[in-house]
């Protein structure tokens, strides 16, 4: 437990966590400002203005493409840095390797999740103070156009704000899971930058390939986007999350358990 506390403190007090938050927040606030200045406030609703569902401007795409970086930047490169600087020696004589790695995984997951959830929630919170939470007419311009076959449409019908919150949770969970990819490749890659950027490249390549090869809609980038212009099933999302999680945890465990600390 003390190792978890130690790693969480490092994660949430790191400069990179603040940088990630700043980038995400700037994108989210710019989106809201652009929405208000270009489209106005009157007659517009929360679900239209929230960055996750706003398709009027490039900020939505920008945020979701950068999501893996926002997730990995806070703390995912720290294992690489610990190994490179020899700081891991200080830790591994005070706690077991497995505790250290487990604590690292937990803190990377949570800081990655927070790095994505906080800007999305901030945008939602500010938008909720400006726009009313009202059901827009479906498929109308400026609405997110959810139709009955879309995922979580019942939540949207119940309350669009709840739908926003649900997607903040979904996106932040993915952020946590993809941040672990950075940990699992930390010993292979030779730079902090590569460790942080590689997950984004993997997500983009995988998402592009899934469109070209036509083996069903498995584009992670589209899956995460609350606008849902591609049709997915909830279990596809679950499979993607679990596969990434299991592969990462397996790689991290195998490479860390019997590692010499040099």
């Amino acid at each position: 437990m003390s190792a978890v506390r130690f790693e969480l403190y490092r994660a949430f007090h790191s400069r990179t966590f603040n940088i990630s938050l700043a980038i995400g927040t700037v994108i989210c606030i710019l989106d809201l400002i652009t929405f208000c200045t270009r489209l106005g406030i009157k007659g517009k609703y929360l679900i239209q203005a929230w960055i996750g569902a706003d398709y009027q401007f490039a900020y939505n795409q920008m945020f979701y493409i950068l999501l893996p970086v926002l997730a990995c930047l806070p703390y995912a490169g720290s294992l690489y840095t610990d190994i490179k600087t020899g700081y891991d020696k200080n830790i591994c004589v005070k706690t077991s390797r497995i505790n250290y790695v487990a604590a690292k995984c937990i803190s990377v997951f949570l800081s990655g999740s927070a790095g994505v959830a906080i800007p999305l929630f901030l945008n939602f919170f500010v938008a909720a103070g400006i726009f009313s939470d009202y059901h827009t007419e479906r498929l109308k311009a400026e609405s997110i156009g959810l139709i009955d076959r879309c995922m979580f449409v019942s939540v949207y019908n119940l309350d669009p704000a709840l739908y926003c919150l649900l997607y903040i949770l979904i996106d932040s969970l993915f952020a946590g899971v993809i941040a672990l990819t950075s940990l699992s490749i930390a010993r292979i890659v030779k730079s902090h930058f590569t460790a942080v950027v590689t997950p984004m490249i993997i997500v983009i390549i995988f998402s592009t390939m899934s469109g070209v090869k036509d083996f069903g809609n498995w584009s992670v980038l589209d899956m995460l986007n609350p606008r849902q212009y591609m049709h997915f099933y909830w279990y596809q999302m679950l499979i993607v999350y679990l596969v990434i999680l299991i592969v990462n945890v397996a790689v991290i465990t195998i490479t860390s358990k019997k590692r010499d600390i040099l």
Partner: protein, 219 residues
């Protein structure tokens, strides 16, 4: 009373044999010196004793418990192996406090005492990144001795230290030894090593080639 028993310890890294059937027993209340040329295996032997190296064969037994079988790291140990490494954005005190939190049995007062003993000001507001080389080394030693663990391993502890600081560190180490602690030091300075050590092991090509008991007046 602590004891480190190393039995037939061998280790290869990338095909190169770095420790070759090393067998020694170290007991508390003594300072053990390790001497040898660069690349002779001193640091690797220290890493193995600290549980940082996983042996290919043989074992490291600490107080009757085998490393990587019964325990994954020594229960009470402080180390400074190669260059000290700390978080650059925090002060010396904050760095030690964070690390002390991992074991949970070292108080703030003990951290302050450790810093003071090596000649660092516990109230210094400068962050680690602004420390000089000597200050970094002192912080590394303070990290190793804070809470006075049963086993202390120091690799080249007097590197980058001025004469006065070296005297101070030597005094501290002898004081700690006299509290029935086990200290292992590797040092290139023959004179200093002989002054501090009770027993010196000579290492060559990963093997212990000589054992020398030192009689001096430091007791």
């Amino acid at each position: 009373m602590s004891e480190i028993k190393i039995e037939d310890l061998s280790k290869s890294i990338k095909g190169a044999l770095i420790l070759d059937k090393v067998s020694i027993t170290l007991t508390s209340g003594k300072i053990y010196g390790l001497r040898g040329k660069n690349g002779s295996g001193k640091t690797m032997l220290m890493r193995a004793m600290a549980g940082l190296l996983i042996p290919d064969s043989g074992s490291v037994i600490i107080n009757g418990k085998t490393l990587h079988k019964d325990i994954s790291f020594p229960e009470s140990i402080g180390i400074l192996i190669e260059n000290p490494s700390f978080l650059p954005q925090y002060t010396g005190f904050k760095n030690l406090k964070l690390l002390a939190g991992l074991t949970g049995n070292i108080s703030d007062d003990e951290i302050r005492t450790a810093l003071d003993r090596v000649g660092l000001d516990p109230e210094d507001k400068r962050t680690y990144r602004k420390y000089s080389l000597g200050m970094k080394q002192k912080l590394g030693i303070a990290n190793a001795i804070m809470g006075e663990p049963d086993i202390i391993i120091l690799d080249e502890p007097i590197n980058a230290l001025d004469e006065e600081s070296v005297k101070k560190i030597k005094k501290v180490l002898l004081e700690i030894r006299d509290k029935d602690k086990l200290i292992i030091i590797a040092c290139h300075d023959r004179e200093e090593l002989e002054y501090l050590s009770d027993i010196i092991y000579e290492i060559k090509d990963g093997s212990i080639v000589d054992r020398k008991e030192i009689t001096n007046d430091n007791a």
